[in-house]
């Protein structure tokens, strides 16, 4: 399988201030490989280095050390950029242009011309649901429409690599669904997608692999299903007929106890199941529900951040 994206020991240190120079280490030796056709999620708290990684891959900033490759070539290569579509976080299209003019402009810059250009512009505007509002100036668009027209410019040249930075932020339910559908369509046509979002359920639902970046370091990386399967699963039970105090002898085995009116909701590790349930039955309690809880990517993310003991944000020196 050929690699769409490869980074090796990628580091970036920003110099801030004019008189009193300060260094901020945004990335520290990041090495990643993304195979073609994958949907790859980048997760991390604010200031973790996700956007810096994306900007290096797009040649918006230069790394302090290390190297990045897209389809085997440097990000500076015009040929590489011909194969990339980029939707930035909080996109800012030219407001004086109409939707059609903006996407046409993007298509021309991507090297399209003639009838092919017009066909593609119409098609992507239709796909993002803006064919009727295409002639309106972008300054009259709502936030969701701005996001849609920006996605249209990213898609117009049929990219082989689609880089989406927070594509669903600020969108309503319909907008989020549209973005999810488009990502699925692009995956089906073999586009590699690098996807960065704080909405972790979206990442879990859409991505084949994820990388968790914290403090500029790669903390966890792998297939989503494998990462979640590696986590110890827990059991969750709803109990009626006893008070919380009745569970005092097995308290050490419980991960969580919540009092919900006449019921107790308890959570415990799988291996403590016999001990906890036996105690409930012995004290006259009734188990009305018992199920294995699924470890979510969000829980994995929170656990990883907690374990890393890294302050959120970059390293100031």
């Amino acid at each position: 399988m050929t690699l769409a994206v490869r980074t090796e020991g990628l580091s970036k240190t920003y110099q801030l201030g004019f008189a009193l120079r300060r260094s901020v280490r945004a990335l520290q030796g990041l090495s990643l490989s993304i195979e073609t056709g994958q949907v790859y999620g980048l997760l991390g708290p604010n200031g973790a280095g996700k956007s810096t990684t994306i900007k290096i891959l797009l040649n918006l900033i230069k790394p302090t050390s290390g190297k990045a490759e897209i389809f085997g070539a440097a990000p500076q290569s015009p040929e590489v950029r011909r194969s990339i579509g980029f939707l930035p976080e909080n996109p800012a299209p030219y407001e004086y242009l109409s939707g059609v003019e903006f996407v046409t402009y993007a298509a021309k810059l991507a090297g399209l011309s003639g009838a092919a250009l017009r066909t593609r512009v119409d098609k992507v505007l239709d796909r993002v649901g803006l064919s009727r509002a295409g002639k309106l100036q972008i300054r009259r668009y709502s936030k969701g429409m701005v996001q849609r027209v920006s996605l249209a410019q990213a898609l117009v040249a049929e990219p082989k690599l689609l880089v989406l930075d927070e594509p669903t932020s600020g969108l309503d339910v319909l907008g989020r669904q549209l973005i999810r559908d488009i990502i699925q369509e692009q995956r089906a046509r073999g586009t590699t997608i690098l996807f960065c979002s704080h909405i972790i359920p979206d990442v879990e639902a859409l991505c084949d692999r994820v990388a968790v970046i914290i403090g500029g370091n790669l903390t966890k990386e792998g297939r989503v299903d494998e990462l979640l399967a590696r986590q110890d699963s827990a059991m969750e039970a709803t109990i009626e007929g006893i008070a919380e105090a009745a569970l005092e002898p097995v308290k050490a085995s419980l991960q969580e106890v919540r009092v919900m009116g006449p019921r107790l909701l308890v959570r415990f590790p799988n291996e403590k199941q016999r001990e906890v349930l036996q105690r409930v039955l012995e004290t006259g309690g009734t188990i009305t529900r018992l199920e294995r809880t699924r470890f979510t990517l969000e829980e994995l993310f929170l656990k990883t951040v907690k374990e890393s003991k890294t302050l959120v944000g970059s390293d100031l020196t």
Binding site: Y14, K55, L58, N59, L60, I61, K62, P78, E79, R81, R82, I84, F86, P88, N90, P91, A92, P93, Y94, Y96, L97, E101, Y105, A106, K108, L109, A110, G111, S113, Q137, S150, Q153
Partner: protein, 255 residues
């Protein structure tokens, strides 16, 4: 080439939609007002006053517009992050800078052409004599606008709009004092000052060389070879400034 044209035309469209051409109305208003005033006050020097005021206002508006457009464009693109969309496409950053400069020059040509037509109309209505010197003065002004636009881009490629504007306005004033700077450098006894003065004369643009307004006012002739020499100087200087702008912009991080 297609991309360069698209960037240039987009720049012109931006200026037009942001109502930059409104300055033309300002020019027309000042011209009508000044002419009425001049008719009341002058007897024999009416044509000179008309020429002086007309070319002076045209110069003021064109220079203001050139500096405003040149120093604001790149910092605004970076600040609003509209630049992300362009530089991630297969368009070199240098092509973007050159395309945007060309777009500005198209806008300035358009505005200057309308102002020139209004000026000529005003002169004709008032039966003032139009000479070749008037045309050469306007051509010289356009060359000055090219140099200032390129210098504005050079400063704006690596700094904020404020810094770029202050620096370009400074260059405008010093550029018009270039011959005086050279004379002072020749007269001073201090060797270091002499070298600094001469270095500044050669490094900074000699905008006085492109200023033919006084000759138009006093109907003094200017040869085409003199204008040609000034044009080569202006375009050459602008090319060097824009190459520096491209080199700086190529190395810039867009955080």
């Amino acid at each position: 080439m297609n991309e360069l044209l698209a960037i240039a035309l987009s720049g012109f469209r931006e200026s037009r939609r942001n109502r930059v051409t409104v300055v033309v109305f300002l020019f027309a208003f000042v011209m009508i007002f000044a002419t009425t005033f001049a008719l009341e006050l002058t007897v024999a020097t009416f044509e000179r006053v008309m020429t002086d005021v007309g070319l002076g206002v045209m110069s003021l508006i064109a220079v203001f517009l050139a500096i405003f457009l040149a120093t604001g464009l790149l910092p605004r693109e970076v600040e609003r992050r509209t630049v992300y969309m362009v530089v991630t496409k297969p368009v070199g950053r240098s092509k973007f800078v050159v395309g945007r400069l060309l777009g500005n020059l198209v806008t300035l040509s358009f505005v200057m052409a309308i102002m020139a037509v209004l000026f000529v109309a005003q002169m004709a209505i008032n039966h003032a004599t139009l000479t070749q010197a008037h045309g050469i003065a306007i051509a010289g002004l356009f060359l000055e606008v090219i140099v200032l636009s390129a210098v504005g881009f050079m400063f704006a490629s690596g700094s904020s709009q404020f810094v770029a504007t202050v620096a370009t306005v400074g260059i405008y004033f010093v550029g018009h004092l270039a011959p005086d700077l050279y004379r002072m450098a020749n007269k001073t006894q201090n060797v270091a000052l002499k070298w600094v003065g001469k270095a500044a004369y050669y490094v900074l643009p000699n905008l006085d060389r492109l200023d033919f307004k006084a000759r138009a006012t006093y109907a003094e002739p200017t040869t085409f070879s003199e204008l040609g020499g000034s044009a080569v100087y202006a375009v050459g200087y602008a090319c060097i400034a824009i190459v520096i702008a491209c080199l700086v912009f190529e190395r810039r991080d867009f955080k």
